[in-house]
Symmetry: C2
Subunit: 341 residues, 2 copies
């Protein structure tokens, strides 16, 4: 039976917010598999703020997509057919498999992995994937926390942020999270047990930070950029570290966004602001996975996923990242998964 591929192609560049019309749905038969290649059926597709930057005409930390390309996206899938000696039918793989049902690959950029017992497959796009590694290396390697310091996290109820908060508590930090609803703030304080939560939509952030961080701010894990970064810079301690992990507040901007007015504080307080992309840490993945697995099985970290059914929903679901109306890591279910055994 001929397999029919389903794909979302990049049809136009978004101006501001992503529209469904920026993508074109494309169906075509999957051809004969060439020698040396593997055919992967994608199961879970990760939706991440960074996807927005990939749609722009200029390169980010990855080359820009061309119009007509399959939209780039991180996913996990299963090998359905292999003419490559490094992969066998049934292997689980992850990589930039794209917004499509089937991916044909020569194997470069595909990583095989084993599902651990008791861990759902979608977690390999989250806690045991880029998200977990981002939180782990961003906080520990770039932030270099010392016990007793104060950590502020923006996007704190998000996939990365909620892990950063929990790792911060495990490392003995005072942790204050910034999120966009009362429900999220309650989740942070009541479920994750952090020391304070600020609703940036209703609270005066400057005053709330002064209240929740009486000893100032030593580490800021920044997922949002913009005004919140600026406000935090006004309250950093000597030798503070600012981990620039994302700038979601400006990904949809249609005008240039000014940097922080308080940048001079970075000089005066001898702070360090450092950009961070998890791709640079893939050679140390085992270290993060071992620590995260230990914490997960000891129930010291918890982790939420929201799974949206159907590849067709991806272009609309992605805006939930920018609207903030989701709970946990946002994932699209591309096809069914029945674990063996």
């Amino acid at each position: 039976m001929t397999k029919i591929n389903q794909q979302w192609l990049l049809a136009s560049r978004p101006v501001g917010r992503i529209k469904e019309s920026n993508f074109k749905w494309h169906e075509s038969p999957v051809g004969e598999l060439p020698d040396g290649e593997v055919l992967v059926r994608n199961i879970y597709l990760s939706l991440d703020p960074t996807n927005r930057g990939w749609m722009n005409p200029t390169a980010t930390y990855l080359p820009a997509l061309e119009l007509g390309d399959v939209m780039r996206g991180m996913a996990v899938g299963v090998v359905e057919q292999s003419k490559n000696p490094h992969f066998a039918e049934g292997d689980l793989v992850q990589g930039l498999l794209g917004w499509q049902l089937y991916t044909t690959s020569d194997g470069r950029g595909l990583t095989k992995f084993q599902q651990f017992p008791g861990v759902p497959l979608d977690a390999f796009l989250g806690l045991f994937g880029m998200i977990g590694m981002t939180a782990y290396f961003g906080l520990l390697d770039v932030g270099r926390p010392k016990e007793g310091e104060t950590l502020v996290v923006s996007g704190a109820a998000g996939a990365v942020g909620s892990l950063v908060c929990q790792i911060g508590k495990l490392k003995g930090l005072r942790v204050v999270g910034i999120a966009g609803s009362e429900e999220k703030c309650r989740y942070l304080t009541d479920e994750l047990g952090i020391d304070g939560a600020i609703n940036y939509k209703t609270d005066n952030i400057r005053k709330a930070l002064r209240q929740h961080c009486p000893d100032g701010i030593d580490i800021y894990f920044d997922n949002v950029g913009g005004e919140i970064l600026d406000t935090v810079l006004g309250q950093i301690n000597l030798f503070a570290r600012i981990v620039l992990c994302g700038m979601i507040s400006q990904y949809n901007a249609t005008e240039p966004v000014p940097g922080p007015y308080n940048l001079v504080n970075l000089l005066v307080r001898r702070g360090r602001m450092e950009g961070f992309i998890v791709l640079d840490y893939y050679d140390r993945a085992d270290e993060a996975m071992a620590a995260l697995a230990e914490w997960y099985f000891e129930k010291k970290v918890q982790y939420r996923t929201e799974i949206v059914p159907g590849l067709k929903s991806a272009p609309t679901a992605i805006n939930r990242l920018f609207d903030g109306n989701k709970s946990g890591k946002l994932i699209v279910q591309v096809s069914e998964w029945e674990p063996a055994g």
Copy 2:
């Protein structure tokens, strides 16, 4: 004979540019020296961009001055009288001795030093003082250069900048300087031998950087902040380092100054931007002094000083730092100095 002290007191906070009326000239007799104290006659007073920040009502890396305080300033002087066992008449000292002819001190914050043969006393406020240490530790410790990398320096013909340029060349870097006149640019290329110089008043900085830095920018030693920082951020390489040493472009600003629009590049290129104040490195002064002395006596670094006569001139002379019409380290001669022997 009663000694008469001469002092410049902070009379009002400048709004924008410093005016002479922000200071009040004060003369009064020097009283009897209390036990435990030393009387220093100041010889050379250092004028530095950072002085402007000290005049503001808010603390910088040092507490704010009160109105009526003697203006703060780094100086070298000679002990004229001592009732402190750690100091003897004739000792040379440096420290924040202030804008005054005589300083009475309990010794805290005073550093004794020996004048090297062949080195003029004013060099201890420059090459062998804060300036030399700023260039040395800022470039080497914060910038962490690797041979063959490209270094861009703003304020490149200034006291710190011209040393950073020369140390950069000694470390095997491609060095491009940004300065404010053709004469300064010629000094940088013809006298100091750097690879390229850009006149920010007449050149298109973005295009000139592209031309002079064909392999991109690995290290930016920033003395100025503002638009030049923004433009450089647009051309940084992966893992670039930005040493925030000064932001002279905005010290006189009367409105909040936006940070760099290109800050997102720091994230995407995984750059590190770090504030730097030389005070944090005083415990490693010997290391810098040894290296600078070796380079100086081997004629591998050169160094210019412009000495303005008379303490009375300080309030007007200081604006030359912001106007850029000076050549080398700006110093006020407060009193005469006749080395012994």
